[in-house]
């Protein structure tokens, strides 16, 4: 097990290094850089800039150096815990991450729980009652959930919540609670506002997992050991839980690690439409403004989360399923 873990860790480091290079290059790939997008804004406001000023600004931001020098600087600073200054927000990247990450992770975790709580029972149920009315109903709903883009769903859900419950559009708090200290009323207000984003982002994930579980269950249900167990008089419920469900959960376990970054990614567009104080919209802003330090830091953070999550999945899977051996 030890050497298995060590091997995984080495692979992870290599993967993170490659990801960091790729993400840095990708962020730099579109034409122009942060400066050109800033100049665009200045020009849009009618400012005339002389070439000398532009050159001086380039030098200031270190944009006149070749890309590998810029990458080297960036990584070196990163190791010293200095994530740099966000050019777009004019705050340190660390402060922005500190401001946005906690709520992002809380929201993602709640969504994850929502997805599993809803999809696992439904998945099992639709497999056991295959071709029943419920199976068809959930299949149809599931496909709708998968195919409707979440920003459309976000708009619809947001409008529905406003019209029916009078819950203010966008954000995680009503205006009167945004400033207030934490209280029961503020918590209730937050819970009201959480529904919309959790449903919007959760629904596509839920639909996917229902399909996976259903398929895995159907594979198992027809197997001979089921007949044997029934013949031995095992109750239907215990039988289901002890054998096919356990096997069907394998694909879930193997993906649980990267579900979290995946959900955070899913929150980019929904976060903009729903105006959530989370990292998704910040990432998009950073990318469009070519704010490479901020965008780089977020992309890297998500990548590290994915890589660590995958290791976690592998280990859990190895523990949960004795058929898997370490080679």
């Amino acid at each position: 097990m030890g050497s298995y873990l060590l091997g995984r860790a080495v692979y992870a480091l290599v993967a993170i290094f490659i990801i960091s290079v790729v993400s840095f290059v990708l962020i730099q790939a579109p034409p122009g850089d942060y400066l050109t997008s800033q100049l665009t804004r200045l020009q849009a406001s009618g400012r005339r800039l002389d070439d000398a000023t532009v050159e001086r600004m380039k030098e200031q931001y270190g944009l006149d150096k070749p890309i590998y020098v810029q990458y080297g600087r960036w990584i070196a600073q990163m190791f010293r815990g200095n994530f740099g200054q966000s050019l777009y927000y004019n705050y340190s990247v660390l402060r922005l991450l500190g401001d946005y990450m906690p709520m992002t992770i809380i929201l993602a975790l709640i969504t994850l729980v929502f997805i599993y709580v809803l999809s696992i029972p439904i998945g099992i149920f639709t497999a056991v009652k295959q071709y029943s009315v419920f199976d068809y109903l959930f299949t149809v709903l599931g496909f709708i959930g998968l195919s409707v883009p979440n920003f459309v769903l976000a708009l619809v859900v947001m409008f529905f919540f406003y019209k029916t419950f009078g819950i203010s559009i966008g954000g995680l708090f009503s205006l009167e609670y945004a400033d207030a200290a934490w209280s029961w009323a503020k918590f209730v207000d937050l819970v009201h506002h959480l529904w919309a984003p959790v449903i919007v982002v959760g629904i596509a994930g839920t639909a996917g997992i229902i399909r996976v579980i259903r398929a895995a269950m159907l594979d198992e249900l027809g197997k001979d050991y089921m007949q044997v167990a029934r013949a031995k008089g095992l109750s239907e419920f215990r039988l289901l839980m002890k054998y096919p469900v356990r096997v069907a959960l394998n694909p879930i376990l193997s993906t649980v690690g990267w579900q979290l970054p995946n959900i955070i990614g899913g929150f980019v567009i929904a976060g903009i439409v729903l105006n959530l104080p989370i990292i998704g919209p910040v990432l998009l802003n950073a990318l469009t403004a070519q704010d490479m330090y901020l965008a780089g830091a977020i992309v890297l953070l998500l990548s590290v989360m994915t890589v660590l999550g995958t290791i976690l999945s592998d280990v859990t899977l190895a523990i949960a399923d004795p058929r898997i051996r370490y080679y």
Partner: protein, 647 residues
């Protein structure tokens, strides 16, 4: 337009009237602080001659205004917090009206101007505003080669920088090497703290900005501070902290930095900015109440205009005029009752146009574009009424390239040149100019036998552009529409790679027009100067790059030269009309629609916002309607000062 002399006279009259009726009142927010001695009484905080505004109705103090923006750079309607200029514009579009300045006078030939400051006018931290603020800005910022590689063009006349002398603390003499009445326009837009300042300012709070400048605290100190803040150099450090005064860095407002505007920023996070009334604000209403009326403004940073629309219809927005789009107008109107707000429509002098690249790198296309008949044909092929319905709910007006009728620079017929819809005549003109050969698909061929293919490039492809493509295809021109990111578009304009692009024509009225008539005169080769790209480049670089403009274009440049050196505002009329006539006769750019009204959202209990008005993007927006005189009828809750502000 009145002359600056008569404006000066009338402004003085207002001041005199005001002096005879002094008994100043202030907001309840500060009463306790004054009683406790933490703040001087209002009489001591106001200048000797505060500026007196006549509000639509006398307001009441208190309340918090909630406004929204979707950008970290632009405040959008967050500019309700105000941006004051040395001179200002009023609701009738008279300009050059003393604002921060008490008065000013040019000498006979406009080679010098004397500025008189309001005695006792103070920054929000109580420090007096004096001529030193101008001198600091001029000597230590503009003339510091690290901060400014070269002195901005408008401070240089005839190759020589202006000369600034402080006569005393309240009198500043500025001299030029040649007549420079254009400086009046600069004063009219030279701001106190503001975003969106489209030219540079003339002063900064010296007492505050000195702490970031090596000449006052030493090079080592600023270098160390820059290093500690993780900034590249002291220049970055200076702009990060003082750039808000300049608009070079659009990050609006640093917390608690001294301002001359009605509100001071007390909190700034990535999610929102909070402003509170400036205790030293120097404007009063006609009853002597110190302005502003509203205690606090909270600007929420949201992620998209859709969110702003949502907030508007759910009644969470107190005022919005820059992010409320015409396309959402039906939605705003439908939800007026539920949201408890009113939609008002303001007029605008701005318009839309299509720029053909008259200096196209392909000589065949260039020859075609430069044939007047081609531009006339393209203009006649547009069904502007249908375009109006499709993009502006029929509320705009078809218009060719021109300043609005109300402008003194307007020439007869300038706004109606070739705007009728006449595709038959368009086809006839195209045939006549030799584009009469067509290929199998029915598209016209260039003289060299190739199909005439043109591409319209735009940052946003809307229904209007799609229609325009169809109109032009209908007369046999193979036009494509292509969406590009704004960055790429700008690079392609500068590199002269674009055939056609749409532009929004701004800077249509004074004081903006004479400063930067870039839509009418070749002044820039970057956005929005596509139409005369290489000629502009030639003009800017004094002939070292680009291409020499033909005679008719050189005339535009010469006329603008006359505007710049005109000794009075009246003297600008003739050359400006010449420019307009040239556009009317030559269709240098193809105008589409003008004057689509501007939706203004006003919460029902927000008072003193005019029912109608005129708004331009580039310059004044809500400024003539003085947001500092707006107030809330129903929720004048008196607020305590922001925690920590007066500790």
């Amino acid at each position: 337009m009145r002359t600056w002399r008569s404006i000066l006279a009338s402004a003085l009259l207002v001041v005199v009237v005001a002096i005879t009726a002094v008994a100043y009142q202030e907001a309840p927010m500060f009463e306790r602080l004054v009683a406790e001695g933490k703040l001087p009484p209002v009489e001591e905080r106001l200048p000797e001659n505060p500026r007196v505004l006549e509000p639509l109705s006398i307001g009441r103090y208190g309340g918090t205004a909630h406004v929204y923006t979707n950008s970290q750079f632009w405040l959008w309607s967050g500019e309700i917090v105000g941006f004051d200029w040395l001179l200002t514009i009023d609701a009738n579009y008279d300009w050059g009206i003393p604002n921060i300045l008490e008065s000013y006078e040019f000498n006979e030939d406009a080679t010098a101007v004397t500025l008189h400051l309001r005695k006792g006018l103070k920054y929000s931290d109580g420090v007096e505003f004096t001529t030193e603020d101008f001198l600091f800005n001029w000597e230590y910022v503009y003339q510091n080669t690290d901060l400014f590689a070269e002195i901005p063009y408008f401070m240089v006349v005839n190759g020589e920088p202006l000369v600034m002398t402080a006569v005393d603390d309240y009198t500043l003499l500025i001299e030029f090497a040649a007549p420079n009445a254009l400086f009046l326009n600069l004063l009219s837009g030279a701001g106190a703290t503001q975003t969106w300042q489209w030219w540079y300012g003339l002063f900064m709070p010296a007492h505050y900005c000195k702490q970031f400048h090596p000449a006052f605290v030493g090079q080592d100190t600023v270098d160390a501070a820059a290093e500690a803040a993780g900034l590249a150099s002291w220049v970055d450090y200076f702009w990060t902290n003082a750039g808000g005064y300049f608009g070079i860095q659009e990050q609006p407002y640093t917390e608690m930095s001294p301002v001359l505007t009605p509100y001071i920023c007390v909190e700034r996070t990535p999610e929102r900015a909070v402003w509170e009334r400036n205790a030293y604000y120097w404007k009063v209403d006609t009853e002597g109440n110190q302005l502003p009326y509203i205690d606090r403004v909270i600007l929420h940073f949201v992620e998209s205009t859709d969110v702003v629309d949502g907030k508007i219809i759910s009644g969470e927005v107190d005022a919005e005029w820059l992010l409320a789009g015409l396309d959402s107008l039906p939605v705003y109107i439908d939800n007026q009752d539920i949201g408890g707000y009113e939609v008002r429509l303001y007029d605008t002098p701005a318009m839309g146009a299509l720029s053909l690249n008259l200096t196209h790198p392909d000589p065949v296309i260039r020859a075609i574009f430069n044939d007047l008949r081609f531009r006339q044909a393209l203009s006649l092929a547009l069904n502007r009424d249908e375009l109006n319905e499709a993009t502006s709910l029929g509320l705009a007006t078809p218009r060719s390239m021109s300043v609005p009728k109300e402008s003194p620079y307007y020439v007869e017929g300038g706004d109606t040149a070739y705007i009728e819809y006449d595709p038959t005549e368009a086809e006839r003109l195209l045939d006549e100019m030799g584009l009469d050969q067509k290929d199998a698909d029915g598209f016209r061929l260039r003289p060299d036998g190739e199909r005439l293919r043109l591409t319209i490039e735009a940052a946003e492809v809307d229904a209007g552009l799609e229609l325009i493509r169809e109109y032009w295809r209908a007369v046999g021109i193979d036009v494509e529409v292509k969406a590009q990111t704004q960055d790429l578009l700008n690079e392609r304009v500068a590199a002269n790679l674009i055939d056609i692009m749409p532009v929004g024509v701004e800077f249509n009225i004074e004081p903006a027009f004479s400063m930067l008539p870039q839509f009418y005169v070749p002044l820039t080769y970057t956005w929005p100067g596509l139409w005369a790209n290489q000629w502009s480049l030639y003009n800017i670089t004094s002939g070292t790059q680009g291409e020499q403009p033909p005679e008719k274009i050189q005339q535009l440049i010469d006329w603008y030269g006359e505007i710049m050196t005109a000794q009075t505002v009246e003297d600008r009329i003739e050359p400006a009309q010449n420019i307009m006539a040239s556009h009317r006769d030559n269709l240098w750019q193809i105008g589409t629609l003008g004057g689509a009204p501007w939706p203004v959202i006003v919460k029902n209990d927000l008072m003193n916002v005019p029912e109608t008005g005129l708004m331009t993007w580039d310059l004044n927006r809500m400024l003539p309607y003085e947001p500092c005189t707006w107030y809330f009828l129903g929720r004048a809750a008196i607020l305590e000062p922001w925690p920590g502000r007066f500790e």
